[in-house]
């Protein structure tokens, strides 16, 4: 087993030396392998999912994280849906808009616009937060909480502003 010096020191006192067996190039496993083994072990031991979603109350950063994912997925549904739909209303987009104007109450339209704007505002602002993290900044736990609240508040204000535009 060839192991580079840093890895050898790292695992010097470790009981997990079997970790290194899967590779002969001096590294332990790739992230993909690691993940696969993790899930295989969980399945084999019939472990419940962690965290237990109906029992464990997610901390604020986790809530905002899943919101980022949710808004991303929801917007993808809208964008892809619009893409597919364009085959249905070829050249008739103006008519679709007129139909909505004639048949939907303005208050409903206003509400819909705010509801449509919120995911984009939140995801864009929180996306910036993600990018700042990715550059290695803003990773202190207190900072994470503060920027989290700031992003939610700003997203509300921004979507109200854009929705009423």
């Amino acid at each position: 087993m060839i192991v580079n010096p840093a890895t050898r020191i790292l695992f010097r006192n470790s009981k997990n030396l079997t970790l290194l067996k899967s590779r002969t190039n001096g590294y332990s496993r790739t992230a993909a392998e690691e993940s696969r083994l993790f899930w295989e072990k969980n399945d084999k031991l019939k472990r419940p999912m962690s965290p237990h979603l109906t029992i464990y109350r997610l901390p604020q950063p986790a809530n905002l994280s899943i919101m980022h994912r949710g808004t991303g997925a929801a917007m993808t549904a809208v964008v892809f849906g619009f893409g597919f739909g364009s085959f249905l209303w070829t050249g008739k987009f103006d008519k679709v808009v007129e139909f909505v104007r004639d048949n939907v109450h303005p208050h409903v339209i206003l509400t819909a616009k705010i509801i449509l704007a919120f995911p984009l505002c939140y995801h864009a602002l929180n996306g910036v937060r993600h990018l700042v993290w990715d550059s290695g900044r803003g990773l202190k736990l207190q900072t994470i909480h503060k920027t989290g609240y700031a992003v939610v508040a700003l997203a509300f204000l921004l979507s109200l502003a854009i929705g009423t535009l």
Binding site: I9, L10, G83, F93, V100
Partner: protein, 178 residues
């Protein structure tokens, strides 16, 4: 003092720590490891402070070598995945300009750019969601195949809309004028 610590395996001087691994190196797999300063995980987190401290616990030194780049792995496959990761971030930054920019400009070039950027970003995003949640031998492959088909179709659809109808930016403005 330092040799005593060295023998105990406790502390080493920063110079003997960083030099052999940042410059000569070590060529894991015949490749030079670049030591990105930002990613060295020291206790203080501040490079200037580290330089002044001049002593670093040995376990931190190992971590500094092990986390040469947060998204870099010794395997070639994963190394390219690190590049992919960076491109995904550049696109996300680009979206911040492309979304408002294309709505303001209303040109056909920016409409097509918006279509491409949205679909590629959404595709990459959904890919990581699928990789996270869908496990097994066949299921992930099927899910990814569905995603790529959907992305392709959505992109064609958005281009078709740009070509045969008012275009994305005007469409957004029309919806917002309701």
């Amino acid at each position: 003092m330092s040799s005593v610590n060295l023998l105990r395996g406790g502390f080493r001087s920063i110079n003997s720590i960083l030099r052999p691994y940042s410059t000569v190196q070590s060529s894991f797999n015949g490749r030079n490891a670049t030591l990105a300063k930002k990613n060295i995980l020291f206790v203080s987190g501040q490079q200037n402070q580290i330089a002044q401290q001049s002593r670093v616990p040995l376990n931190q030194y190992i971590r500094a070598v092990a986390s040469v780049h947060p998204h870099r792995s010794p395997l070639e496959h994963d190394e390219k995945a690190g590049l992919h990761w960076s491109i995904e971030r550049y696109l996300a930054v680009g979206l911040l300009a492309i979304i408002p920019g294309s709505i303001l400009l209303e040109t056909s070039v920016t409409d097509y750019l918006l279509a491409a950027a949205l679909v590629v970003h959404a595709n990459w995003g959904c890919r990581s969601i699928i990789v996270d949640y869908i496990h097994g031998k066949q299921l992930p492959k099927i899910a990814l195949a569905v995603l790529y088909s959907a992305s392709f179709l959505a992109f064609v659809g958005l281009c078709y809309f740009n070509y045969s109808d008012v275009g994305l930016s005007k469409a957004i403005k029309k919806i917002w004028s309701l």
